[in-house]
């Protein structure tokens, strides 16, 4: 499953990062790496983007970016 599939409040561990080039680098630099634990904090009133907590910082990602991040759900 991907980060985009997670419900509000869920926690997951990153397995792999898709995408390429500058966009992928940006995600890496934000600290989204394989093994990183991410939780779903809040969703925009219009359903997209979604805010995730990554390494103690809340970062909003649009759905198509989140869909490139493969995760394993944790409880």
């Amino acid at each position: 499953m991907t980060l985009a599939d997670l419900p509000l409040g869920a926690r997951a561990q990153v397995l792999a990062l898709g995408g390429a080039g500058a966009e992928r680098r940006r995600l890496l630099d934000l600290g989204i790496l394989p093994g990183t634990v991410i939780s779903v904090e809040s969703r925009s009133p219009l359903g997209d983007p979604t805010a995730y907590r990554v390494r103690d910082t809340v970062i909003a990602l649009r759905r198509e970016q989140a869909a490139r991040i493969t995760v394993r759900s944790e409880i």
Partner: protein, 275 residues
């Protein structure tokens, strides 16, 4: 605190060349649009967005620049000055970035300034509530310059969240002074000024942590390339980092190597007497 004042009046350029003389690159700074006339030392302020970087800037300079609360707020460099222990310091606020590796405009501005402008001290503002993320940037800055002071900001907020940070442990690990502070309340500002002065004058010899590589293949490639870069640019303080950037295919660094502008990153050898 009484010692830090804005000093609008201009005096001569740095007077003596000695062991503690400034290393900043005036020609390069002029090229970057920064006037350093009348200042003894140049200090750069780096840090992640939303770490209170502008608050630290204001606390040091006494300026009341409005500090916003979103990423990328500091679009252009803010400049100011302060005076401490009879020395005049020029302070530059670099754009807030998470990293120096992915070459967005902001990151390039910050990186080029530290690399080519050779500030006498780079203060990395670190958010005590989000240490891990902020250390990522601090480690990258340490790979470019050894003249670093870490301002461990927002310790008051960290305490409210039940987070306690041991500055001495950080100092040991990073090899540079780490000053805990709550810039909004002015706490830790005198200590930060003292640390900046000590690093600028060389009174505090830093021993920066090396950029960890872990992967033996990469370590081998960097080890092969570094001596060549050091030979081409004698005295370059960050050959290992340059090697890594070249291996990563960083085009602007490759250009700087090809046309020799990387030479700007080399501080001139100390002269016994000034002309």
């Amino acid at each position: 605190m009484s010692e830090h004042l804005i000093t609008p009046e201009a005096v001569g350029a740095p007077t003596a060349h000695c062991a503690s003389c400034p290393i900043y690159n005036s020609a390069q700074l002029v090229k970057l649009g920064i006037d350093i006339t009348g200042y003894d030392y140049v200090v750069a302020l780096a840090g992640n967005p939303n770490t209170g970087k502008s608050t630290v800037f204001n606390a040091l300079t006494g300026l009341r620049q409005h500090t916003g609360n979103w990423s990328g707020k500091t679009v252009s460099r803010a400049e100011g000055g302060f005076r401490f222990r009879e020395r005049r310091y020029k302070l530059l606020d670099l754009p807030g970035t998470y990293s120096l590796l992915s070459t967005s405009t902001d990151e390039e501005v910050a990186r080029d300034f530290i690399l080519f402008g050779r500030p006498d001290v780079t203060v990395v503002v670190v958010d005590a509530t989000r240490l891990e993320r902020n250390l990522n940037l601090a480690l990258q800055v340490l790979a470019i310059t050894e003249r670093v002071v870490v301002a461990l900001n927002l310790v008051d907020e960290a305490r409210r969240h039940g987070i306690e940070v041991d500055a001495r442990s950080l100092t040991r690990d990073l090899g540079v002074p780490v000053v805990p502070m709550a810039a909004r309340r002015g706490e830790g500002v005198p200590e930060l000024l003292a640390a900046v002065a000590d690093v600028a004058s060389g009174a505090y010899p830093t021993r920066p942590r090396r950029l960890p590589l872990r992967d033996p293949e990469i370590e081998r490639a960097v080890a092969a390339l570094t001596p060549q870069i050091e030979a081409a640019f004698p005295g370059l303080p960050n050959a290992r980092w340059v090697a890594l950037r070249l291996l990563d295919g960083d085009e602007s660094i490759a250009r700087a190597v090809a046309d020799g502008t990387l030479g700007a990153a080399v501080a001139p050898p100390p002269l016994p007497v000034a002309a």
